[in-house]
Amino acid sequence: MSEAAPHLSVDSATGIDVTLPIAGAGARSYAFVVDWHIRLVLGLAWYGAAALLYNYVREGAVSLAPPVTNEARWFGAVLVPALVLYFLYHPLLELILRGSTPGKRLAGVRVVGRDGGVPGAGPLLVRNVFRLIDSLPLAYGLGLMLVALTREHVRCGDMAAGTLLVYETASPGLALAPASTAGSLDVATAELVAELLARWPRLTVPARAALARALLRRCGRLADSLAPLDDEALRRALIEASRAGEAAA
């Protein structure tokens, strides 16, 4: 996060402000696209499964086609639930998941009030009502334009509800730098070493080798003239780099 990035600053009793980085158009769009696909797939899946079942039970036919005449059962069992899944996805999930949706989680963002807390049910519902305006004239044109132009990157619904979209900056599993490295490495490098070691088993051999070499070079522990190290030797070199501070500390 750069220092110039917009953020929500909330006063606290300790005198140290709570600072939440505000998400921009990119993170918003990413979250929306993911959510849009989820609700589309959910709606279509319900329609497909219910239509197949309905037609099979009623006529013994395997078909997705709607009946020729208006049939209440078709409407109630097939069409309405599919439309509810599609159109009420955002308000219902934001209420249940406290200002979040699967798409927002994936994008690492969540909805908060001006006080930094989870907004109440009213604001969450109001920000969704205003999707009617934000989606004009098409493809959230007005909403995106407002997000791009406003200082806090808010669409009309957020202005109305007093909400903001902020980044969830850290996860509980985040690899922090061990204290012992503080004497030998700068904190940012130590964090990268710790994170690379934590992710080591999940990375492919070429990828982790390239990252390890770059990091060791940054620590001054890999001279270009030396013979290339194999995978295990690179891992050991990283561990040694992270432990080097213990002697110094």
């Binding site: 606290s12 009502v129 850290a170 509980p172």
Partner: protein, 332 residues
Amino acid sequence: MSAEPRQSALAHALLERAPQWREAEARARRFSQGRSDDPAEAVRVADDYRLLAHDLARARALMPRSRTREYLESTYARVHATLNHGGWRLGAALRRVFRDDLPASVRWLAPYLVWSTLLFLLAALAGYALVDRFPELIALFASPDLIASVESGKLWTEGLLNIVPSSVLSVQILANNIVVSLFAYCSGFLFGLGTLYILGLNGMMLGAIFAFVARHALAGALATFIVAHGCVELSVMCVSGAAGAAVGEALVRPGSEGRVAAFRTVALRSGEVLLACSVLLVGAGLIEGFVSPRPGIPLPVKIAVGVGYWLFMVALLTGRLWPRAAGESPGA
């Protein structure tokens, strides 16, 4: 690569507290998700808050561009939210909206409601007078099918259930009404003009159609059709207009707090009223699909349904549906 010795020692001391930060985060997470209500743990959360504030201040100075600082910012924000905002429960949040916020917002909206109802009635009168004086203008307000049906001496609603089942009709109607109401409200974003236009147009349409059916001696039949669902449906239209007008006024005359802040305050208050009205429109749609078009239901029953549902609406909007326990204060 090494930092200055003093800075390094401070960073070293700070990073040694990482296990405490993780414990603090886990504790705050348990509390915010309602998985712990141990008083001793609550005290520890308060201690965590001070510890994190202290460490965050140091991290901002010592390692401003590090993930450690970002982690501390996030954990501090979580503990702050846990201590200051309490648990978030969906049921309690919805109850607060309907029991406390909604009646207060309706009281605040009352002057706008008077004006929007007046505008709607005037528009209906104007529509009535216009079509009564110039019947050919009905083509501006009604579809050719509707006109042909009335001119042949039948309401377009007759035999409706032979074409569309009640449930289908209900869903089509309620979806349309909700979209129109919400759109009338949201159009207040256009400095109130969109709302006034939608309110006026709907009022004129109602008056014009009544004038047209009255010329063919079908006004009584139309009133019989409308009475069961119309009381709430038309009231909600006026409430939508009131809410949209309030939003428009906040943008036109924001006062000292600024346009965006005024818009936020007003849209949030009036939006809650609109959401309750949307729920009411679901009921109105069901009545319009299942009760209104059935000729077998006698008029007194339709009137009772219409008035009864309207009284329910009034009770919901004024908070009388959820009486408070003795000694309970508003907002508690």
